[in-house]
């Protein structure tokens, strides 16, 4: 015969001790989890620089996942950036960076090089672009550094450009890459954003030709992206299913930077 041990009911004192012990145990575990979690994250290694670089591996994963999830949730090409009257446009248009536009350039000889999906190359002169219908936009240009400014740009909308030069097949691909003629500055864009109706190949700023420091003769204006994606002085455009190289993504920024 085995005698079952009967547990005597806990005294109040025991109950208090037990609950206190459990509560502080959980609290301590949470604090330790927080401290070690942070240490793990802070000390996690940087990614190997390829298309993206300069960011801790878990943070990069979070950036990519977040951007894609949020885009799936909110993105629509019907969402247009807010536009303003011309009178509100800045006279002194802010310029932040010279990368890619410092090399000497012969504007008269400049041609836009477009690489098609089959490898065929098109060379397009500025006059061919200017001959097409002009689209203008006055919008709030937003910099990843925190400033924003209402600016006035004019040029050929990217959608019109695609249609006119028969690049519809290329738009089935996932990405557009653009580079400056000296290849020192370059951006990658997801196709949806590139085909947004307000994306422009701009040749005018404040009703005058784009000045050299703002990306003459032709620059990208893409209001659904931060300023860093608005490449100055476009030299070449290509299409791809892999993410094209991107100057600031290699230096630790999010690849997409969509707005």
């Amino acid at each position: 015969m085995t005698k079952k041990k009967v547990k005597s009911p806990l005294t109040t004192e025991q109950k208090i001790n037990r609950r206190t012990f459990l509560s502080f145990g959980v609290f301590g575990a949470a604090v330790a989890g927080g401290v070690f979690g942070w240490k793990w994250l802070y000390n996690s290694p940087d990614e190997v620089t390829a298309i993206t670089g300069g960011t801790r591996v878990p943070l990069r994963r979070a950036l990519n996942k977040t951007e894609i999830a949020v885009r799936r949730l909110f993105y629509s090409e019907k969402h247009l950036v807010k536009t303003y009257p011309k009178s509100m446009a800045a006279k002194n248009v802010r310029q932040n960076s010279d990368v890619g536009v410092e090399s000497p350039i012969d504007l008269a000889a400049w041609k836009l090089q477009v690489t098609k999906g089959n490898g065929e190359k098109l060379l397009i002169g500025l006059e061919d672009i200017k001959a097409l219908p002009k689209t203008e936009i006055i919008f709030d240009f937003k910099c990843v550094e925190g400033w924003d400014q209402i600016q006035y740009w004019g040029g050929l909308s990217f959608v019109d450009f695609i249609k006119h030069f028969n690049l519809d097949t290329e738009t089935k691909m996932d990405y557009v890459g653009m580079e400056t003629p000296d290849k020192l500055y370059y951006v990658g864009l997801d196709m949806d954003s590139a085909l947004h109706p307000q994306t422009l190949l701009a040749y005018e700023m404040n009703d005058k030709p784009v000045p050299l420091n703002h990306g003459a003769p032709l620059r990208l204006i893409i209001p659904v992206k931060y300023g860093v994606k608005n490449l100055k002085r476009i030299g070449s455009i290509s299409f791809s299913n892999q993410r094209p190289r991107d100057y600031w993504a290699e230096l630790g920024y999010d690849y997409f930077l969509g707005l």
């Binding site: 609950r19 969402h79 247009l80 659904v224 630790g252 969509g258």
Partner: protein
């Protein structure tokens, strides 16, 4: 904080005169945060998820457990909170009677939830100002939404400092009750004078 690095916009300026610079040069040097915007952004866009989830779970818990009744300000709270403040500053001797949380706490703990919701809304408004244009519009435009988002952050710092100071002032017993959910109060049994008293109780 790294996210505020790159463009030094964070100052209070009126009529062309700068009154206050939030992040002067020494601040950047002291914390080694020059040229780390991309790092700050990467952390920001991961921790925003913890911020949101934490808030959501907390609010759900207070609703299910019924704790919200102890936390939401009552009509009298706004008047009483002033008295609590005077008491805490040792200007007034007596604090108004309270249940679990005093009037000032009720206001503060509810305000922080409202602020949290505000941070999520203004955050989305400046994170995706084109896609969430309606939120940006509600927040008074992109530029103003950025200011709101920043001011709310200052609010958290203010809340945090007061909160920690109060925890220290309230002492270990109070802190312990925060963790365990109860506080042991040993009332010394009063000597019974009349026997009839006992019968009344039962």
């Amino acid at each position: 904080m790294l996210i505020y690095w790159a463009d030094d916009e964070y100052k209070i300026k009126l009529f062309g005169h700068t009154y206050f610079v939030f992040f002067p040069e020494w601040f950047y040097k002291f914390f080694h945060i020059t040229h780390r915007l991309q790092e700050g952004m990467a952390f920001h866009f991961l921790f925003m998820w913890f911020f949101i989830l934490n808030g959501v779970f907390y609010v759900i818990y207070t609703i299910i457990s019924g704790e919200w009744r102890e936390l939401v300000p009552q009509k009298k709270s706004f008047k009483e909170a002033w008295l609590v403040l005077l008491h805490d500053l040792h200007i007034r001797k007596m604090a108004p009677p309270q249940k679990k949380y005093n009037a000032a706490q009720r206001i503060a703990y509810t305000a922080i939830i409202v602020m949290g919701i505000g941070s999520v809304i203004t955050g989305l408004a400046i994170y995706k100002p084109v896609q969430c244009y309606y939120l940006t519009w509600i927040c008074g435009g992109y530029h103003f939404a950025r200011i709101l988002h920043f001011v709310l952050t200052l609010g958290y710092v203010f809340f945090f400092v007061i909160h920690i100071v109060q925890v220290f002032l309230a002492g270990w017993k109070n802190f312990s009750s925060v963790i365990t959910g109860f506080e042991v109060v040993n009332n010394k049994p009063k000597p019974i004078i009349e026997k009839g008293h006992d019968e009344e109780k039962s």
